[in-house]
Symmetry: C2
DNA sequence: GGCTCTTGGGTAGACATTCTACGGGAGGGT
DNA sequence: ACCCTCCCGTAGAATGTCTACCCAAGAGCC
């Protein structure tokens, strides 16, 4: 085990960004809860830390909306785990959420670039 | 003027994004509340609609943190208005917030690009 | 003067989502 | 038996946006 020091300077998620992260991660394949969290953390380059207290409510939300389905199974460590998978609606939703995100980033960019970069 | 039809498909702000939008707008010059809102709406290409109920609490927040200062004055329409301006700390903060935003966008990008774009 | 529209500021409460902190069940190693 | 780890789960605090209201005062009209 690696000297896994906690990064104290992780980025906090913006409200509303976790859903698309989960959906996108599940688009790569079926995973259980902790697996999703770890995948997001790794893919983000350890910038995001996914708290369990945010993860499970988010998974419930997505399941309730019909974008993912859950099933009990066994993890690689032989632990009882709940595996999640995208539904057809979920697969469609990934695109919607991604588009929403890109549109938001573009709009933010227009405002932030309006006066040139500060301090440059 | 005004056949100003309301865009029903405006983007909703993500929690935490309004502050940097305000700071950046004020970096371009002193403005009053409504002026800030209009500037953000225009600069964003009419993607954002700044609600008064979000704006004034945000201005209070920023003032309380010492990043902006307010002063009563008179608007171009001869109305009593409260003008806001960046403090030195506020000017420094613009850079911090911008950096935070870019870092977040980069991290999100890594996750969203991890599997290629869905659905083109 | 009186009436209405517009500009500008402000607050209360609903709402959604994340974070902190707690708890529980079960496998693996010693 | 004991402890550590993995995995799921929930309650409540904290934060910030949105909806819906209210108030003050200038401008235009009659």
């Amino acid at each position: 085990m690696s000297t896994q020091e906690p990064h104290s300077d992780r980025i906090e998620l913006l409200q509303g960004t976790l859903d698309v992260l989960i959906l996108k991660t599940l688009a790569l394949g079926r995973r259980h809860g902790q697996g999703i969290a770890r995948a997001i953390e790794e893919t983000s380059g350890d910038e995001f830390l996914i708290d369990h207290g945010s993860l499970y409510p988010a998974l419930k939300r997505l399941e309730k909306r019909g974008w993912i389905v859950a099933e009990w199974g066994v993890s690689a460590n032989n632990r009882r785990a709940r595996f999640y998978e995208l539904t057809a609606a979920g697969r469609a939703r990934v695109g919607v959420e991604e588009a929403r995100w890109h549109r938001l980033v573009a709009a933010m960019g227009r405002v932030l670039d309006a006066g040139g970069s500060a301090g440059g």
